[in-house]
């Protein structure tokens, strides 16, 4: 038996989250096949074939695959699911959208957001905002899984010599269509794969003040994140949200500024290697997870920090 992974890509590049899924698949220990769907995507298929550890790449082309519509992608995966004991997705917005459909169409339970492979049928996943870790065992004939990318290193993008096989597209739904998108334009590293993340919360007071975090992020080559409160208040867009119901990050350094440290926020960052908190309230729960805490007004501390990074 082998493992099938749905590849996520944009602008001709494979998303880093998919590389982590390959590492999770390697831990399961079977041959690994990648499925690339796109309107062209030969370039992506070639990159997929070069990933270390990949045995075969399936390439399905259709104009409808230019957008990640769940109906179409799930039909495609199910069409090519025969012979696979494991089907893996990244636990990204796109992967979460498709994985449960595939599981339901195959009449098996979905296993969301795994952080550890204990064996070919046993996995660990966080529940209750990461306040508990559930070890689950599946007796289903096929395990349909999404993988939390921060829990697995990225597979090497080179070293593989897999073949690329063209496969048929599946049924295209006429009930759903793509209208448009508003994507964030940033030359910062991507939030979930950055090695340093600088996040701001309600304490930042407004969107303009986030430029202080941008400045520090620029000096550290860091990504900028935020708490839900900062997003809800409109300081920054939704894709900045770190937490239980936003993005999960685990960088080498996480700097939380003006963030209290609610359970739901901690769920998205407490696996970071080093956590720094700047908060004027010494009782703020964020200090309980911080390796280095600075009790200070952020409007004094951030300019000082910016200057100190120059020296």
């Amino acid at each position: 038996m082998s493992t099938l992974i749905l590849v996520e890509h944009e602008d001709g590049n494979i998303r880093p989250a998919t590389l982590s899924v390959v590492t999770a698949a390697a831990a399961i220990g079977q041959e690994i096949h990648l499925l690339v769907a796109g309107s062209g995507a030969e370039e992506v298929a070639a990159k997929a074939a070069a990933i270390a550890g990949v045995g075969k790449v399936l390439l399905a082309k259709h104009d409808a695959y230019a957008h990640e519509l769940a109906e179409n992608l799930s039909a495609l995966v199910v069409r090519h699911a025969d012979g696979y004991s494991h089907i893996l997705f990244a636990a990204t917005a796109a992967g979460k959208n498709v994985m449960p459909r595939v599981a339901a169409l195959l009449d098996v339970s979905g296993i969301s957001d795994i952080i550890e492979v204990r064996g070919e049928d046993t996995f660990v996943r966080p529940i209750y905002a990461g306040n508990a870790l559930a070890t689950v065992r599946s007796s289903d004939p096929v395990k349909v899984i999404s993988v939390r990318s921060t829990a697995f290193d990225a597979a090497a993008e080179e070293g593989g010599t897999a073949s690329v096989e063209a496969v048929d597209a599946a049924e295209i739904s006429d009930k759903v269509s793509f209208v448009g998108q508003e994507l964030s334009q940033s030359d910062r590293p991507e939030l979930t794969s950055a090695s340093i993340v600088v996040s701001g919360g309600r304490g930042m007071q407004n969107g303009e003040n986030f430029s202080m975090l941008d400045d520090i992020a620029g000096k550290l080559n860091a990504a900028v994140g935020a708490s839900r409160a900062a997003v809800d208040a409109g300081f920054v867009p939704n894709e900045y949200q770190v937490g239980q119901t936003g993005k999960v990050v685990a960088p080498d350094l996480y700097l939380a500024v003006g963030i209290s440290g609610a359970i739901q926020h901690l769920a998205g960052m407490k696996d970071s290697k080093v956590i720094v908190a700047i908060n004027k309230d010494e009782e703020a729960p964020i200090f309980q997870v911080a390796d280095y805490g600075l009790v200070a007004d952020l409007f004094d501390a951030l300019p000082e920090l910016s200057a100190a990074l120059d020296s």
């Binding site: 109906e71 529940i127 508990a132 870790l133 269509s177 939704n238 720094v276 990074l309």
Partner: protein, 249 residues
Amino acid sequence: MKIIVGVKRVLDYNVKARVKADKSGIELANVKMSMNPFDEIAVEEALRIKEAGNADEVIAVSIGPVQSQETIRTALAMGADRGILIETNELLEPLAIAKLLKHLVDREQPGLVLLGKQAIDDDANQTGQMLSALSGMSQATFASRVEFDGDQLKVTREVDSGLESIKVTMPAIITTDLRLNEPRYAKLPNIMKAKKKPLEIIPVADTGVDVSSGLSVVEVNEPPRRAAGIIVKNVAELVDKLRNEAKVI
């Protein structure tokens, strides 16, 4: 048009989950339980759609133990018209929940089903997508805006790189994200009125739906704790520690 809204009874979001000593799960005895916050957003959206004249009836559905009636009553107090409880004491997987919701979809023929994007206990984020796959209704997940356009809906979705909008044909399933709306509080007179609204209870066995699952929980553990950190005196000390002790910058 009818709208079905899923309302799950979960550990209140302000309560920190505690793992049971025998590692079988989470302690749920004598702790505050509430409606899953994403489901409050789903109820609110359903009510706004009805108030705008685009729906006639809002049906709040919960699957769970008898106490889930309270969760349904909360939805009724917010303004839903009637409730259905599919009663079970088992903790069901999203696949079983989706099959039970499909059973009700077949019976009630709603134009819309509104669910949360994720239940904050199992953090599965699966049920809406599964119900769409099983029922053939269109899927629009992680919605931050819903607009009517004839028999179609334009839904703005929160995705990892920003916002995406799609058009789906009704009947459709929408799962709610945090920015869709701000749920109303139930007012006291409405809480009284909600007690008189119809609430049907169906034992899970009466649905004839197979709720067995291939997934079992082996054990539940506490996550590793982080070692205690230190408080630094000033920015200079912080930068020094990050450079020379943690070596992360």
